[in-house]
Amino acid sequence: MIINASLPGSGGGMKFASGSYTGTGTYSASSPASLTFDFAPKVLMVFRTSTSTGGSAGNLLRSEASKCYFIQNLDLLTTEYVKGRGFGAQSYQGPFGKKSADGKTISWYEDNSADDWLYNKSGETYSYAAFG
């Protein structure tokens, strides 16, 4: 879903997109997870919506309790990977995040294949909401 809403004083108006994706199970910088948008979002929120690995899927408090990065201010991302700017559990392996030069594609990865909390676990369903 995309909503284009004009907000007072916002100039070009606000854009919103939501949707979902299924995790591919890949990790590492060579095969990152990614989401692509028709606009360059300012904020992106991702959370798990399936429960094959247990836990309380779709609950943002659960994500917070697990020390997961599930919402990012994309203005802080660069075109190079930066630790702590991806989506998944906080660890020394990441998650690393970056955006494309046009800001429309957000990519992230973690150097830990055993981590179930990278938001790209094989077969898991994740939902997202983006604001720009």
């Binding site: 994706y21 591919t24 890949t26 094989s122």
Partner: protein, 97 residues
């Protein structure tokens, strides 16, 4: 609508995204609702015409237990070399247990 990246990742999965898109990114294709999505998704083999998927065949879901052994580190190699040298020179330190 659901879109998938036409090229597979190294493990056979395809990046995918469901939402509303004004334009389809290069290298991606739309999966029409008429195309059945196999249970193995996103491990699928797509048939694509232009930027439209015409069929999705089931792919092979990798077994996590079959992940390849990691390459030995320099420290692993050094320890192996030391153990081998100790065995060959009969200088291996025996355990006190």
């Amino acid at each position: 609508m659901t879109i998938i990246e036409i090229a597979a990742l190294e493990n056979g999965a395809h990046r995918n995204q469901t939402g509303t898109f004004a334009t389809i990114p290069d290298g991606w294709a739309v999966v029409p609702e008429s195309v059945e999505i196999p249970d193995t998704f996103p491990f699928v083999i797509p048939a694509v015409e232009g930027q439209v998927v015409t069929a999705l065949l089931p792919g092979v879901v990798p077994d996590p237990a079959s992940d390849p052994e990691p390459e030995p580190t320099q420290l692993d190699r050094l320890e192996a070399q030391i153990a081998y040298t100790a065995l060959m020179t009969d200088t291996l330190i025996e355990s006190e247990e």
